[in-house]
Symmetry: C2
């Protein structure tokens, strides 16, 4: 549970940045090298690398070095983790709506 919570912290933190979201959007289309990924951004490479490392640490991407080129690929599991968390929230709201509905129905039948 603690681990799951820390994982969510890392994933949400990684998603809270437009550069990192754009990189994920690009990687959704297929793996890419870091230099190709960096091209659309007006950013020094060390700053860009920080974003890549952040994404890798959160588990949202994996990287692999082949010769002198480091290639990045998206990992889908953390997206599923976020979706599971969102569904759990939605389940709480829906349980509440059901309780309210039962209350209203009971009140009406009694009234």
């Amino acid at each position: 549970m603690e681990q799951y919570s820390q994982q969510l912290d890392g994933i949400f933190q990684a998603l809270a940045d437009p550069t990192r979201r754009a990189v994920l959007g690009r990687l959704g289309k297929g793996p890419a090298s870091i230099s190709d990924l960096a091209k659309p951004f007006d950013m020094a490479l060390p700053s860009f690398m920080k974003h890549i490392r952040f994404l890798e640490d959160s588990g949202l991407i994996r990287t692999r070095k082949e010769g002198r080129v480091r290639t990045c690929a998206i990992r889908k599991r953390p997206f599923a983790t976020v979706e599971t968390w969102l569904s759990a929230q939605r389940a709480v709201w829906e349980a509440r709506t059901d309780r309210l509905e039962r209350f209203v129905t009971t009140a009406r039948d009694k009234g």
Copy 2:
């Protein structure tokens, strides 16, 4: 687009903390006063208030003061914003899978 991106930054940042996620989980069951919300947390009130303000600024909750009590309630729209973003990512992956499938099918039919 810029506004949407900043909104996502704020929402994801707000979700990247276990206290704030726990508050949202509680508020999913119905509105609550700040003092009730703070009870389960071993945290000074000013620190807790920072989390509440963070959640309010991101749009994930709204607060209303009635007399001396400030009540918080969840707002569902930002959750939908996150779900929309996740669906857009998934659509990119699925488009890619479709392209790969067409490629494999074409290669097989030609081969």
